[in-house]
Symmetry: C2
Subunit: 317 residues, 2 copies
Amino acid sequence: MLNVNLINKELKQVNNLIKKDIIKERTVSKLYKYIFRSSGKQLRAKLSLISSSSDKKIRLRRYKLAAVIELLHTATLVHDDVVDESEIRRGTKSVNNIWSNAHGVLIGDYIYSKAFMLMVELGNPKILDELSKATNDISKGELIQLDAIKNTKITLEKLEDISYFKTGRLFEASAKCGAILARSSNSYQRNITNCSKNLGVAFQIKDDLLDYSSDEAIIGKPILQDIREGKVTYPFYFAYKKASLEEKKYLESKLGDKKQNNKKIIELITNLGGIKETENLAIKYFMKSKQAASKIENKNIREEMLNLLNVSIHRKK
Amino acid sequence: MLNVNLINKELKQVNNLIKKDIIKERTVSKLYKYIFRSSGKQLRAKLSLISSSSDKKIRLRRYKLAAVIELLHTATLVHDDVVDESEIRRGTKSVNNIWSNAHGVLIGDYIYSKAFMLMVELGNPKILDELSKATNDISKGELIQLDAIKNTKITLEKLEDISYFKTGRLFEASAKCGAILARSSNSYQRNITNCSKNLGVAFQIKDDLLDYSSDEAIIGKPILQDIREGKVTYPFYFAYKKASLEEKKYLESKLGDKKQNNKKIIELITNLGGIKETENLAIKYFMKSKQAASKIENKNIREEMLNLLNVSIHRKK
């Protein structure tokens, strides 16, 4: 039976596969080991494992696909840290912080191309097609996000595009490729892909929301990073729309300001409805995701997806 | 008949194919157009066109392969400029210089994944295998090169590894994939691959040599960039080996020194035989390349390769 424990056991196999990459070159191996010494939530890898779980005969291929997805995701994170000049990733120092931007860019490229190598080994043209397009869309999303910096004129539609491209897209591809690998029916593929895509967007909205969370201790990383980097995300967007001229000026002055008065800005954004509206938007996408999940005929997979959804809605970090 | 004019005509088709990428997103399209507004020597794309030229029926597929290779190469250049903090590329400002490191990293990723998308369209598993491995090797080479920074203990073998991975490898893959695409004989594939690989290494050695050229006006970019970035390349390596203790100290002090006395350092490195020894090494690889070229049975292709070799040996920039 499919359950959380089984998926976690499978994830161990996936991580072993990722770590099995033995590189003689000292610099490469040192960086690679540092990056994969611990793992995050691995939601995308989980999605591909769940989505492909109906076919018991393709265990190794499923692990390989999940490894590919984890590698792709990790490569984007390593590059993101260079892009955002982040010093912390998953509670410890980022590659660009310990080594340099150069190391971050190049080991990111190494991991990307490693993912493509494994993908080619899978030898499935549909999976290659989907994942190369998804990777392209992710970089597109990140590039569009650069437009959102200090841009108070950004539209809600653009913000939703960014969330889809940078997060929803790989959630979608993970589930879709899992379904392709397991040679599932078209309707199953449609439902699980749709479910995952909306889950990804909801996940990103929740992420933007957590950055405005009032309790740093719980989420385990500094809050208000987005506003410090000058990024307009949903809470800011919704608050700004309702703000008076004076409040607008204050909000604008905070974009890119590295020294924030956390309490004051969170209070203002909350009072202007920025948190509530963002929560509503997250719920909208979670509901869309849930609706698609409920159409999945395979009971185990349906329950696993609903479980994943619940965990994601209620996550505090 | 295959000749330089024909290849240049074909390159225009390749460039059209690259530029045809229509992107609605303003930021993406602005960066993409800037990067592809002009082209470099496009040697790698040429190699793939020459290598596949025996098969007249696959014109569009040949252009697509050449476009893939040009995209892959361009992505590495854009990332290299971030890595080296270069301000100039092909005579004009680099992406990281005009926009930011963030833009350089992300548009590089965009171009990489665009290359993979086109590669998947070609639908040839052997080409996918070769190009994903080559891309991985390139990043490996760049990472090993970070070890060469301010490292006077680096071995000649390591320097040759770097030249192979970062330059020879894509030359090799370009020719090999061209041969695969044209379904050429094994012996042809071996010869043209071997020829191109050694040409690539020779090309890189020549590049390192040109950085120590005494005439900045001719090569059209600032010289001594490598030593300014602290990179130990061949001329420095050979000179250092022959240097007295005092000269060694002087040479060490110049690694990473942004304000070089060009004349003095070039004089010392020349006097210690650094230039001569590097020239000899370049000739060694050119000869290896020529030997492999001479084994190519197809007269047109053989002559085209020998021509390319000659141009590369005698290039002044």
